[in-house]
């Protein structure tokens, strides 16, 4: 794995230490760098200045204010060179959001509770086939 910057968007602040610890080894070996946003709005602000640094965006759907779906469609409208990779996260069994997210162009889908081993596999697959859809 090469260096990869991931922006994690979730309104729950405790997601941050969780990710930092789960990717402890990867962070230490500089394979992965994590940044966080607590809302869709914050994520857009972040992308405005640093979208070129970010390789992958991992966003929750269910957030107060701007929802993950809305964030996804804004990203797809505003950034297309190159289009960032976006993984969506939501509660289990939420078919409606899954369908909407796919329609709006999400690259992949993860359900809560997050399976970090699965996420790592997907990330590995993503770096190996850079830019291509990981879902099939």
């Amino acid at each position: 794995m090469g260096h990869m910057k991931i922006l994690v968007v979730d309104d729950e602040a405790d997601v941050q230490p969780l990710f930092l610890q789960r990717f402890r080894k990867e962070i230490r070996s500089h394979e992965i760098e994590l940044d966080f946003a607590l809302s869709g709005e914050e994520a857009l602000d972040y992308l405005e200045t640093r979208h070129s640094e970010v390789v992958l965006i991992l966003s929750d759907i269910n957030m107060p204010g701007m929802s993950g779906i809305e964030l996804l469609s804004r990203i797809r409208n505003e950034y297309d060179a190159p289009p960032p990779t976006v993984f969506m996260i939501t509660a289990y069994g939420d078919e409606e959001n899954h369908r909407q997210a796919m329609e709006k162009g999400a690259n992949d889908f993860l359900t809560k509770p997050l399976d970090f081993n699965l996420l790592k596999e997907k990330l590995k697959f993503f770096t190996e086939h850079n830019g291509q859809d990981t879902s099939s």
Partner: protein, 436 residues
């Protein structure tokens, strides 16, 4: 002329017999009176043959007086007493005529005609009085008959009214039971609305509990490796992380615990213990529950939740689950209003639901504001009435706000103020007395 006096005595006895004829007294007196009435004529015949015309009239007067007095003093003959008075003029005339005849014989003979006329008048007087008293009696009887009829009617009406009163009491009891059931079902309905929100709210902390404990196990493995390498600095760093994680686990466990407790409190039939309550916590909890409850039904719905909680607010005495229900109801209404406005597809519309808390002198003020459809002026004074709802049939019971009113105003001695402009916003201001 004395025959009229005896006739009066005879008729008085006959009348007495007639009066008591159908009463138990007849048994006692019937025979005596019948014999007496015959005796009158025997006395008359005797007096006629023994004494001359002179003393006879005086005697007849004394006889009639004795008879009248006897009847007057006999308790059994009380009913006839009023008629006795009518006999006194005849008695007087008879006695005066007798005395006049004895003492002033010449004078009496000169005016014989007048004395006879007086006796006749005295006799006639008796009958005149009898006739009029009979009329009076008939009248009395008619009145008493009418009274009896009225009594019967009153009794009938009273029975009717008593029956109606009983029926009404029964109906009131039924209504009270129904009201209790409605309150209970309103609670259950709002609990149903909550379920999705609760599931979401519990799911999140549970995920954290699971994730943090998993990552901690990994960290402990790592810690073992670092220990074997003798990398103490790294070991200490990992231990710090593990401690932090355990704190997070505890925090999220408590969060789930609080939600479950809140749910139990909400569904409990009735517990009305006032206890010092942190309103900021309560409002925050129910705001999230209401929001996620609605989102569970309408996934596309999204709103900005804005909280202005006054920091360091002292706990205020209230029944937390009741005030929680009031807040839940206001939040549900607020979300409903912004959702409805959002569906109108107004350009640039962003649903916002705000809740703020503040201490105002000796009151706690809670404001719930939304930028939704607002309340039309014509229904503003109706919205607190029971069963009033603008929601489609089956969606609202119309009890939410009226129950909220009961809880805030009647149970907590507070106030509910409603500010709204149709199409722009609605703001509910709840004030609860808060003693320092």
């Amino acid at each position: 002329m004395q025959i009229f006096v005896y006739l009066a005595a005879f008729l008085l006895l006959r009348r007495l017999i007639k009066t008591i004829k159908f009463t138990p007294l007849y048994e006692k007196w019937g025979k005596i009176l019948n014999i007496s009435s015959v005796l009158v004529w025997i006395i008359w015949l005797g007096a006629e043959s023994v004494f001359g015309d002179v003393t006879n009239i005086l005697l007849s007067g004394i006889f009639l007086l004795a008879l009248v007095e006897y009847i007057r003093r006999t308790p059994d003959f009380k009913p006839i007493r009023p008629f006795l008075e009518a006999h006194y003029p005849l008695i007087s005339i008879a006695v005066i005529s007798g005395l006049a005849e004895l003492t002033f014989k010449k004078f009496y003979e000169d005016y014989d005609y007048y004395f006879q006329c007086a006796i006749l008048l005295g006799f006639a007087w008796i009958f005149a009085r009898w006739a009029s008293s009979k009329k009076q009696q008939d009248e009395l009887q008619r009145v008493s008959l009418r009274n009896a009829e009225l009594d019967r009617l009153v009794e009938e009406r009273t029975a009717e009214l008593t029956k109606q009163k009983d029926e009404l009491q029964e109906a009131v009891k039924l209504l009270q039971t129904t009201q209790q059931q409605l309150i209970q079902s309103e609670k259950l309905a709002s609990l149903g609305e909550l379920t999705a929100g609760i599931a979401h709210e519990i799911q999140n902390p549970l995920n954290f509990v699971n994730n943090f404990s998993e990552v901690s196990m990994e960290l402990i493995d790592e810690m073992g490796e670092e220990l074997a390498n003798g990398n103490n600095k790294e070991v200490i760093a990992i231990a710090t992380d593990i401690k932090q994680n355990l704190e997070k686990i505890r925090h999220h466990g408590k969060r789930a615990d609080g939600i479950v407790k809140g749910m139990l409190q909400h569904s409990r039939a009735s517990s009305s213990t006032m206890e010092p309550t942190d309103i900021n916590n309560l409002a925050d909890e129910y705001l999230r529950l209401a929001y996620h409850g609605l989102r569970a039904k309408d996934k596309s719905f999204n709103a900005d939740l804005v909280t202005h909680f006054e920091e360091g607010l002292a706990a205020v005495n209230m029944v937390p689950q009741d005030i929680g229900r009031v807040l839940l109801n206001l939040f549900n209404n607020a979300f409903y209003a912004v959702q409805k406005k959002q569906k109108l597809g107004i350009e640039g519309y962003k649903p916002i639901v705000e809740v703020s808390t503040a201490r105002k002198k000796d009151e706690l003020e809670i404001k719930v504001k939304d930028n939704g459809t607002g309340i039309p002026d014509e229904i503003k004074d109706k919205i607190l009435q029971p069963f009033f709802t603008t929601k489609p049939t089956g969606e609202g019971t119309g009890l939410g706000l009226s129950l909220s009113y009961d809880i805030v105003v009647k149970a907590h001695g507070g106030k509910i103020e409603i500010n709204s402009t149709e199409g722009e916003y609605t703001e509910f201001v709840i004030s609860i007395p808060a003693k320092i």
